[in-house]
């Protein structure tokens, strides 16, 4: 059982045999999303293996894992597009297996690549989906209008979808998921292919949806630095199994404390930008041969090392480094991020 499930404050759900929906017994916020022991196999491959987690109202839950970890499969099951072999998913108390029609009214799903009617314009596209969700008359017009305003697509409303940029298309996709005012948004790699500005704008929209509109958001992304900033909690999945889950701060803290227990410190080292690759490689080789250096990996332009010594031994390493003439510009203790936690927890297994 993962940590998120075993955490305190989870509501006890009692069955109401007369009622139409689940009744949540007071004692905690009701989970908008409850994934229980989900298993999905494709032939012999267990794409999702006994996965369980929950998300409360207004919570942004990051769903993190390498390619082929089972994120999209889980999201498709939640979105009623696939069925599990075992387990179930409840959205606001409704089972996706038994009552998919009810669940569809409560979810908005944005897959990593979604189809668009290329010869439609933005307004017609949103209007069509508003109709498809059963919105009528003034309600439909108002919903379309508000989505256009919210996603800042109003100026482009008469523009053909095929002429929209990637960023604008993603906004349109987000707008489509919002048109019927769902309680749960499932965003699968929404930032994929976006430029830095697009990512920042999308991040702002997601934060606005969660903080101001109280939407529950399940979001998967490869850009973990961004997820760390917007997510309240995260589920780390690999090879179909949940490896860790909990509040982002807790995951990072837990990672720090685990390292502290192991007497391991993370150090970050930067070299001069113009350093030749050969010299960088030589430095890497030299580094792993030094005492107390447990592991060394490149993280962007920096090198991250796991160091097993105390501060005096850190000082000794720095002294030797400079003595060897390596072009070091920065040597610091590293702040644990979601990315670090992810890298430590996952083992790089792909299915």
């Amino acid at each position: 059982m993962n940590d998120l499930l075993s955490g305190a404050g989870l509501p006890a759900i009692a069955a109401s045999h007369k009622g139409e929906t689940a009744t949540i017994v007071p004692g905690g916020p009701p989970p908008v999303l409850s994934v229980r022991n989900l298993t999905r196999t494709f032939g012999k491959l267990r794409a999702v293996d006994d996965v369980s987690f929950e998300a409360g109202r207004g919570e942004v839950l990051g769903f993190i894992g390498p390619n082929g970890a089972g994120k999209t499969t889980t999201m498709r099951i939640i979105a009623t597009l696939d069925l599990p072999q075992e387990g179930d998913v409840f959205v606001c108390g409704e089972s996706v297996i038994d009552y998919p029609d009810r669940v569809r009214k409560k979810i908005g799903y944005m897959p990593d690549s979604f189809g668009k009617y290329a010869n439609m314009n933005v307004l017609d596209y949103l209007d069509f989906f508003a109709r498809a969700y059963g919105l009528r008359g003034v309600e439909r017009r108002a919903a379309v209008e508000h989505v256009l305003v919210f996603t800042e697509l109003r100026k482009l409303q008469h523009k053909a979808i095929k002429s929209l940029s990637k960023g604008m298309s993603q906004r349109l996709g987000l707008g489509r998921t919002l048109i019927h005012n769902p309680e749960l948004l499932i965003l699968d790699e929404p930032a994929a292919g976006l430029d830095p500005r697009g990512r920042v704008e999308l991040r702002e929209l997601v934060q606005l949806l969660a903080r101001e509109l109280n939407k529950t958001i399940l979001i998967s992304s490869h850009i973990l630095t961004e997820l760390g900033e917007i997510c309240d909690s995260a589920v780390i999945i690999e090879a179909g199994k949940i490896l860790a889950s909990g509040r982002v701060a807790d995951l990072q803290k837990r990672q720090r404390s685990r390292r502290a227990e192991d007497h391991v410190t993370s150090l970050s080292i930067s070299l001069i930008d113009s350093t030749e690759p050969l010299e960088r490689e030589a430095f890497h080789k030299w580094l792993v041969q030094q005492p107390f250096v447990l592991a060394c990996q490149e993280s962007g332009s920096r090198l991250r090392i796991d160091f097993g010594g105390d501060p005096r031994q850190q000082h000794e390493l720095l002294r030797r480094m400079l003595g060897e003439g390596f072009p070091v510009t920065e040597f610091s203790g590293k702040v644990e991020t979601l990315e670090d936690a992810f890298m430590d927890i996952t083992r790089g297994i792909t299915q």
Binding site: A12, I13, A14, A15, S16, H17, K18, E20, T21, A22, V25, G27, S34, R36, G43, T80, L81, L83, F90, S95, I97, D98, Y99, P100, D101, R104, F114, G115, K116, Y117, A118, N119, M120, F128, F129, R131, A132, Y133, L135, R136, G137, V138, E139, R140, R141, A142, A143, E145, H146, V147, V149, F150, E152, L178, H180, N181, L208, E212, L213, N214
Partner: protein
């Protein structure tokens, strides 16, 4: 409730005033199927419809001008209405029977290729509304093409030799033909998964549409050259054709719906219900009309009706007897809300191979009962060959029961013993078995004759092939007359019934069992028992 109620737009908004003004057209469109609204919008914006519409008008103008010039002053005195009518129908047939069905095919295929279908699937639109919307959009386009040629038909009505009834009936039948082709095109578009298969199906569809077009052109020009049929026989025959076409439209529509419905949902009941209704209405119309008109019941009529019914049942039976034996959890949840007695009576119309077999047996029994009822009315002796026809009809029913039983057994066996078995696998295996049963004896007979010059008239090993045995039943051969072959078929049918008996009983138990274990609506089971939770009444 919409986003409007709680959204906090970032830019300044002027939404409500604009949103409050809803035109009559929008209010009207609110009542329409959203797919219809979208499709019509897209069709009007697309080039396919506009170009066809323009070409239709141009070709009709061209026909009018050239026809009038050629006829000269004879236009007022000679019988030119038929030729003009036939000439207008040809471009109309191209538009309604080739272009519209192909556009419908492209539209549905496009939804799946462009990944828009998944987006539709998670809205509140169900497969039925999606297919119905596409079909309705095709109907709107057909209506517009008809509207375009109305002035030209009006012009034809002013010419000599114009007959209102055949013209109206022909146009009316044409609508059903076009709609049936659209339904077929939609169904075909849902079949393809791989690109290669899609290309192949597109070619087959185009070939089929062109073949139908060539039939219409031939028919129209034979009308133009000879004469247009009239009288109540023509109207009755047209009515029968329309009835068959309506049945085909509904059945193909239902099959297309089944194709795009998730496997976990009920994909079967719609097809079963439509087929049953079609059979009942078809039989009632045929015999009702004969009784109402006081016409004698000919053996040929009974024979034709039973054979047509058997062909339809064979088509549907192949699909329903190859389904997984157990209902999915989603279907069980739906059925659990139906009163138990009703669900027992509805067994043959619920999904599952054993229930499919029950469905087939029920209809076969109905046909057999019908034959028994009408056989005294057939005036045996007065019409030669009555006995043989009845025997062939009975043989067809036996074969249906045997092959339905075989498919049901095969499905049960495969789903239980082959891990990861899917309906498509069972259907392929069933198809191969049936083909082996039908063609195997014929091939054996041919090989014996070709290689060893041995001429085999009949052997027990040929019993699997109705293609071999039914002509023998019809003609009667020495030593192996119709009764003897039927006597062989009966125990076979009985054997398959016994083999399926377990499945039938299990199906009934499943319906009963789900009542005991069905989850309450929308109630998630508690993950952990919480002794402190207050009980909720």
């Amino acid at each position: 409730m919409s986003l409007a109620s709680d959204a906090t737009p970032r830019a300044g908004t002027t939404t409500t005033a604009a949103a409050d003004r809803i035109s009559f057209a929008e209010r009207f469109s609110d009542r329409m199927n959203p797919i219809l609204v979208k499709e019509v919008r897209q069709a009007f914006k697309g080039r396919g419809f506009s170009i066809t519409f323009g070409l239709l008008l141009i070709s009709c103008w061209f026909v009018s001008v050239i026809g009038a010039l050629q006829a000269g002053t004879g236009l007022e005195y000679f019988d030119y209405a038929r030729q003009f009518f036939a000439s207008y129908i040809v471009p109309l047939a191209v538009a309604t029977c080739v272009v519209v069905p192909f556009l419908a095919y492209q539209s549905m295929l496009g939804e799946r290729l462009d990944d828009t279908f998944e987006m539709l699937s998670i809205t509140t639109l169900r497969a039925r509304r999606i297919i119905s919307g596409k079909l309705a959009s095709a109907a709107v386009q057909i209506f517009l093409f008809y509207a375009a040629i109305t002035p030209f038909i009006g012009f034809t009505s002013l010419l000599q030799g114009f007959q209102l009834a055949p013209v109206v009936v022909s146009l009316f039948v044409g609508i059903f033909v076009a709609l049936a082709l659209c339904s077929a095109a939609l169904f075909i578009s849902t079949l393809a998964r791989s690109r290669m298969f899609q290309g192949l199906l597109a070619l087959l569809l185009i070939a089929g549409l062109l073949w139908v077009l060539s039939l219409i052109i031939t028919l129209m020009f034979s009308f133009a050259l000879w004469s247009m049929p009239g009288g109540w026989e023509f109207i009755a025959a047209s009515g029968a054709v329309c009835l068959i076409l309506v049945g085909a439209i509904l059945l193909l529509r239902e099959m297309a719906i089944a194709q795009i419905t998730f496997e976990s949902d009920n994909r079967s009941s719609g097809i079963r219900i439509i087929c049953s209704v079609f059979l009942v209405v078809g039989l009632a119309a045929t015999f009702g009309l004969m009784i109402a008109l006081g016409a004698p019941i000919y053996p040929e009529t009974c024979f034709s009706v039973v054979i047509a019914g058997c062909l339809l049942l064979a088509f549907v039976g192949f699909s329903i007897c190859t389904e997984p034996p157990r209902m999915t959890r989603r279907v069980r949840t739906q059925v659990a809300h139906v009163p138990w007695l009703l669900s027992v009576f509805a067994q043959p119309w619920l999904p599952g191979c054993a229930r499919g077999y029950m469905y087939m047996l029920l209809h076969i029994a109905s046909f057999a009962a019908l034959l028994m009822v009408v056989s005294p009315l057939l005036m045996p002796g007065r019409y030669p060959g009555t006995g043989e026809m009845l025997a062939v009809a009975a043989g067809c029913l036996f074969y249906l029961a045997i092959y339905a039983g075989l498919l049901s057994c095969l499905a049960t066996l495969m789903f239980r013993s082959v891990p990861g078995c899917r309906t498509a696998h069972v259907r392929w295996a069933g198809f191969v078995l049936i083909m082996a049963g039908i063609l195997g004896p014929l091939t054996g007979m041919l090989l014996l004759e070709l290689l060893f010059n041995v001429h085999v008239r009949f052997g027990f090993w040929m019993i699997a092939s109705p293609v071999s045995t039914l002509p023998m039943i019809a003609n009667g051969i020495s030593g192996w007359d119709g009764t003897a072959i039927l006597a062989l078929l009966f125990p076979l049918a009985l054997l398959f019934f016994l083999l399926n008996l377990g499945g039938i009983i299990e199906s009934l138990r499943e319906t009963r069992g789900m009542r005991k274990s069905s989850p309450s609506r929308g109630t998630p089971p508690p993950r952990e028992a919480n002794p402190d939770a207050p009980s909720i009444a």
